[in-house]
């Protein structure tokens, strides 16, 4: 299997936020109907029908993402989280994974000394990390 080094954010979205002293990062694979939905939003005509090929590519990307984002995988990608308790919750129905990092914000937004006190940028940080991505998962993206 050939791979290519690219940012995780190439086909992975993320949004992060705070819950008390914990941060969560929700990570998802782009939906197969997304590009048509975006075209519609721009006032262009588009067909929302998802081909089996597009669905299979999204599923393959999700399988790869789930294998990448284990607790240890998260610690590698976000060294800031080393030593902290991490939960990883797969949500296959949304082709998404939710990561909870406990205690990264001390005792909440008012108390923490972190530059980003509500972990607003944590998801974008994760998307900027460069990883080995199977070439098949990239080339499929232009299909």
């Amino acid at each position: 299997m050939t791979t290519v080094r690219l940012p995780l954010g190439t086909f992975i979205g993320a949004r992060s936020g705070d819950k008390g002293g914990d941060a969560n990062v929700g990570v998802w694979v782009i939906d197969p109907a997304e590009s048509a939905a975006v075209q519609l939003a721009h006032g262009q005509d588009a067909d929302l029908t998802v081909t089996s090929q597009a669905a299979a590519l999204a599923d393959a990307r999700y399988a790869w993402l789930s294998a990448l984002l284990t607790v240890d995988g998260v610690r590698d990608l976000l060294p800031e989280a080393r030593g902290l308790r991490i939960e990883v919750h797969p949500l296959a129905n949304l082709r998404a994974v939710n990561i909870v990092i406990h205690g990264i914000l001390g005792r909440g937004v008012a108390e923490t000394t972190r530059v980003d006190p509500q972990a607003k940028g944590l998801g974008e940080h994760l998307r900027a990390r460069i990883v080995d991505i199977p070439t098949d998962l990239i080339t499929g993206s232009s299909a």
Partner: protein, 475 residues
């Protein structure tokens, strides 16, 4: 079976777009205007406001009501908001006065009882330890004295107020999603008691509304705001805010008014579904939604259908958000330009705080241990070095690294001039090119968030409409 109820959001936090209420009312058809004003930090902000100005509600809501009340009254649009914060009854009175002044007759509903502070001594005596959900400590063990304590209330009392004819409902600390659950339950005649006794259809409907509420509670975040693929989003300079069209079975279409900026796609809805959640079980006082059962489908331009959500039992205890005053804090950030970033940081730290960069790294996130090693007489010392890491920097921004030093103590003086003066005094005698990003400032008080729970039986919620008590009891 009634047609879906169109519930619009016009606020994701205290300070969100002031014009949004008017936009949501003027730009297209809606049945209910809602908004969330209360983030975890907001209760602390409102407490400071209450101490200064005497009221603890979000005043911007009144400005917005003034802008839309006439139109809402003409078109029968109900308004539901948690802008009451620490003072829902006072906000109810203020809305009443405003309506009278405008000559628009309205029935104002108020949901109160979330505030546990008036009964704190009694609750502690009755055995509530208010164990911290993160640390397992009780309040007493931490020696913490809360200044705010609010139980999260669900959508049922909001539905009660609407059923009793309230045109505007203001609440204190209800869950963000309760602002959608309440109106949807009122519109469709859902039975909360049936859901509690295991009626699956009713439970699933409430769970669907909970998910819808979660999706629209953060304003434009459902419509392409704060979105990873923002480059795909049209009109993001001024995105529209979300509308949930909730059907009788709880399934929902998320959309926005035609002709507004932003977009609603499976992607923008997924991003918001995942925002600030934990595991798949998403709890609310009325019901818990199983996020592993949610199905999303793009059904048209800026229209995403959410269906399939199933209910799990509601939690036995109510979540409580407490805040106590932790002490005082101060920060200064030094700029380290060019070469030898680590050596510069090390010299600055040894000069100002009597610790080496190595000691800082060894201490990790333990700010108390680091303060113990330091010559600064403070309880906590936190240091963050951001090294630009760029070789041969062409532009000033490439050449600048930052050393941020934060101190905390129960004594404001120790983190005031006692902290900043030695740092400023060192600027001609330390590393080359030393300067801070901002002038030294005074110590500021900070709050500590204390997430905990309370027995439902220890909370009593009151619903008043037009000054009359219409419902009261354990949530």
């Amino acid at each position: 079976m009634r047609e879906p109820i169109r519930i619009a959001n016009c606020s994701g936090f205290f300070g969100d777009r002031l014009a949004a209420a008017r936009e949501m009312v003027d730009d297209g058809p809606i049945d209910v205007l809602t908004g969330d004003w209360l983030a975890e930090l907001t209760m602390l902000i409102l407490m400071r406001q209450k101490l200064k100005r005497g009221n603890g509600f979000a005043g911007t809501f009144l400005t917005q009501v003034e802008q839309v009340l006439g139109t809402c009254s003409d078109r029968g649009i109900r308004i539901v908001s948690n802008a009451g914060g620490l003072d829902p009854l006072a906000l109810g009175d203020a809305v009443d006065e405003l309506a009278t002044r405008l000559g628009i007759p309205v029935r104002v509903g108020v949901v109160s009882g979330d505030d546990l502070m008036p009964r704190m001594a009694e609750l502690l005596q009755s055995g509530e330890g208010f164990v911290n959900l993160d640390t397992g400590e009780t309040l007493a063990e931490a020696g913490a004295v809360p200044i705010t304590a609010n139980a999260y209330i669900g959508g049922e009392p909001i539905a009660d107020a609407l059923r009793a004819g309230a045109d505007i409902v203001v609440t204190g600390r209800v869950t963000d999603a309760a602002l959608v659950i309440g109106p949807a339950a009122w519109w469709h005649g859902w039975d909360f008691a049936a859901a509690r006794s295991g009626d699956k259809t009713m439970g699933d409907a409430l769970a669907g509304a909970l998910v819808a509420g979660h999706v629209i509670e953060c304003g434009a975040q459902a419509c392409g705001g704060n979105y990873a693929f923002f480059r795909d989003v049209p009109g993001l300079e001024h995105p529209g805010l979300p509308i949930a069209e909730v059907s009788a079975d709880g399934s929902t279409v998320i959309t926005k008014h035609e002709g507004t900026g932003g977009m609603v796609t499976v992607g923008t809805v997924t991003a918001q579904l995942l925002y600030e959640i934990g595991g798949p079980a998403y709890a609310n006082p009325d019901v818990t939604a199983d996020f592993a059962t949610i199905e999303l489908e793009q059904v048209g331009r800026d229209r995403v259908r959410i269906s399939g959500t199933t209910a799990l039992p509601a939690p036995l205890r109510l979540k409580v958000a407490m805040n106590y005053l932790g002490g005082f804090r101060n920060s200064l950030t030094l700029v380290l330009t060019g070469l030898d970033v680590e050596a510069k940081a090390d010299l600055a730290l040894r000069t100002i705080a009597g610790v080496s960069l190595e000691q800082v790294r060894d201490a990790g996130a333990d700010a108390i241990a680091l303060a113990g090693l330091s010559t600064l007489a403070v309880r906590e010392l936190a240091v963050e070095l951001q090294d630009s890491g760029i070789l041969d920097p062409a532009m000033p921004g490439d050449a600048q690294s930052f050393l941020r030093i934060t101190v905390k103590d129960t004594d404001a003086d120790r983190v005031g001039k006692a902290f900043t003066a030695p740092l400023i005094e060192a600027t001609l005698s330390s590393y080359p090119g030393m300067f801070p990003t901002t002038p030294p400032g005074p110590a500021s008080p900070y709050g500590v968030y204390w997430p905990t729970t309370v027995d439902r039986g220890n909370v009593s919620v009151s619903v008043q409409v037009a000054g009359e008590l219409v419902a009261e009891g354990t949530p």
